[in-house]
């Protein structure tokens, strides 16, 4: 009996050791949940059209992905991380301190962030400044100087020709990359339109940042969770509300929701591509040069992801809602990938 038990323990230990020794032949990708729907399409095609196994892609968020990516070099760390923002210099330093020296940055395209309402809702046209007034915690005092707690309850309070319905906007929580991008692209630019706040930038920069980036919490802005499908079904039920979500969800649900126009342009494919709809952000992925040639298939995966048939103007990722790069950007990106040019901050 005891001999048998010892035997089992030894066998179990041996299996563990064997598991450890087994080399990884599969590309391991982590990172942003915004890039996830695009990266998975490429990975699936790559698995189907080459003899390599399909890469595994974890949706960890941009920050979480970069943290895993920068843990070191070797099979137990991911080869590629997706990001819906550029890598920060602190993250480059973290990587370097763990031995991840050479990283290739790949810009794959742009993602629009739509502000939309139900197809049965009113047509609306707002500026970034007006969105800031509707959504910020503190706004310039409408009848005087200084800053006050947001007094606006209806859209018509902000501009008289906007609908006189209560302000209700469903948006992503602070943990989401979409939220970061929305704050950066709409709130921070919108708040700079007001002299009362713009003057703060010189005198009290922390206060300026805080005023621009803090969303109101009195019920007008509703954090609706990470799930964009949920926001769409809520807009479907509430025609006076607005929602903030990724462009691909707008594209897929054109029978339920429509974009409102921000600074004179609606979130349509063409408007985002030519830059007239300005609420869009770049999408990246980062590759560990040290893993290229060690983990089989990375070069081929890069070639597939950066090919014209994937990210070109008629590529299959464009059908999924990705906004393509301009020709010059594409050439620069392709050059960086083909020569594995290391990232320089």
């Amino acid at each position: 009996m005891y001999k048998k038990m010892i035997g089992t323990v030894v066998a179990a230990a041996a299996t563990l050791a064997a598991v450890q020794a087994e080399a990884r032949d599969q590309i391991s990708i982590v990172g942003s949940s915004t890039v996830f729907p695009f990266a998975t399409v490429v990975a699936e095609r790559f698995g189907q059209t080459t003899s390599y196994p399909t890469p595994t892609i974890e949706s960890t968020g941009s920050g979480g992905g970069l943290k895993l990516f920068c843990e070191g070099v070797g099979e137990s760390t991911p080869d590629i991380t997706n990001a819906s923002r550029r890598i920060k210099s602190s993250e480059v330093e973290l990587c370097a301190s763990n031995g991840v020296e050479d990283i290739v940055e790949v810009l794959i395209g742009y993602d629009g962030i739509a502000v939309a309402n139900s197809v049965n809702g009113p047509e609306m046209e707002v500026s970034k400044g007006e969105l800031f007034l509707a959504l910020a915690e503190t706004v310039p005092n409408p009848n005087g100087s200084g800053l006050v707690e947001n007094p606006y309850e209806q859209w018509s309070d902000i501009r008289s020709d906007l609908p006189n319905t209560a302000i209700r906007v469903f948006g992503p929580p602070p943990t989401s990359g979409t939220r970061d991008a929305f704050v950066e692209l709409v709130m921070e630019e919108g708040c700079a339109e007001f002299d009362a706040i713009a003057s703060l930038e010189d005198s009290d920069e922390d206060k300026f940042e805080e005023v621009c980036a803090t969303m109101r919490e009195d019920g007008a802005f509703v954090e609706a969770g990470e799930n964009d499908t949920l926001i769409i079904s809520r807009l479907d039920n509430d025609t006076s509300a607005l929602g903030i979500f990724g462009f691909s969800f707008l594209d897929q649900n054109s029978d339920k929701v429509k974009s409102i126009s921000v600074d004179g342009a609606k979130a349509t494919f063409d408007n985002i591509a030519d830059g007239s709809y300005a609420v869009s952000r770049p999408l990246f992925f980062y590759v560990k040069t040290a893993h290229v040639g060690v983990i089989p298939g990375i070069e081929e995966y890069l070639a597939e992801f950066t090919s014209r048939r994937a990210v070109g103007p008629n590529g299959y990722l464009i059908d999924r809602g990705l906004i393509p790069l301009s020709n010059a950007e594409y050439a620069r990106m392709k050059d960086a990938v083909d020569n594995l040019k290391p990232l320089k901050m």
Binding site: Q26, E44, P53, T229, Q252
Partner: protein, 437 residues
Amino acid sequence: MTDQSRNALERLAANKHERLNARLKSRYNRERRFRAYGIASIALGLTFLAILLTTIFSQGLSAFWTTYVKLDVTYTPEVLYIDDATDESQLRLADYDGVIRQALSERFPEASGRQTMRNLTGMVSTSAGYRLRNRLMENPDLLGETETLWFLADDDVDLLMNGIIDRNLPESERRVNDQELEWIDSLVSSDQIERRFNTTFFTNGDSRDPETAGILGAAMGSFYTLIVTLALSFPIGVAAAIYLEEFAPKNRLTEIIEVNINNLAAVPSIVFGLLGLAVFINFFGLPRSAPIVGGLVLTLMTLPTIIISARASIKAVPPSIREAAMGLGASKMQVTLHHVLPLALPGMLTGTIIGMAQALGETAPLLMIGMVAFIVDIPGGFTDPATVLPVQVYLWSDSPERAFIAKTSAAIMVLLAFLAVMNLLAVFLRKKFERRW
């Protein structure tokens, strides 16, 4: 006694009787109200269950049927760019989408122009090309031949056939444009389009194309994970419970252990995920996203549940059984293994199955160890990257494509079916082996 005093007494008695009756009535009323509260809370629960199930079923049933399109495809070497059928790499990289495009343009000769052709080929799933490739690679003699095959239709076509996309909406609000509608109607009238039971859903792994996405990969991942969990947590849990109940001395130390086990049962599961990441992946170097790590983490999570239920069922074995066996000269170990364990086993199994059902529905600890991932290949072992059923539900619910809404509900139905089977098994085992004294 005078009449007057008798009257007074009678009145008093009648009064008392009345008061008693009133009190009795209020007691009965109180009881009736209490029952009504109970019934109301059950009714409320049932209503929510009914709402949940009807939404899941009404959304999910459509995912069990899918649309197929019949096409005559010709493996023309010139279209495929194959000049040597024995060269495997040529067969692998050939332009199979071109074959589909050709078949469709033969069916709809009036279609021309780049965008129109794109829309036309977009009506058939991208998996059609892979299917042709697999057929030709299996049997290179097909080169130059013509076959009639049923292909999976694109998810938008399926949604239209299913009535989820409303064809009466204006064209700009509809994912299927007017020309595509015309093509579909033409295919319908020539019986080239058909809805069938969706076997793909049960035989494929995950995919980003809703029409080819299936549940098998996640189901196999759950299977391997639960095997590891069961193989570890049942023996360890039962051994711990037997030792604590039958052998351990009752002192301060065992009391502390007992309190800790009860506490662990209430620890949020994400904590076990963090522990698993630190110990199994970072320290022991086990692979990420593997069922073996998932199983280990879920073992940590279910062990307290199993130990607690196993101890309860050992406690329920009457002391007279132990005393009788001891009286006949059995050793402590014989008493435990021959008498107590067999009698306590049904209860232990029930506890284990409930613990397993809990583990089957868990996602939070798996996030930390990389099992919340997009994995296409169906896992074939304990170290292959895998995901599990509830994670699949989460990933699909987060996908932009409309057709994934039905898939999400269908995956929930599969998960619920597994849970129901496991709970039924628990009930069955209890009914069959349980002994009452």
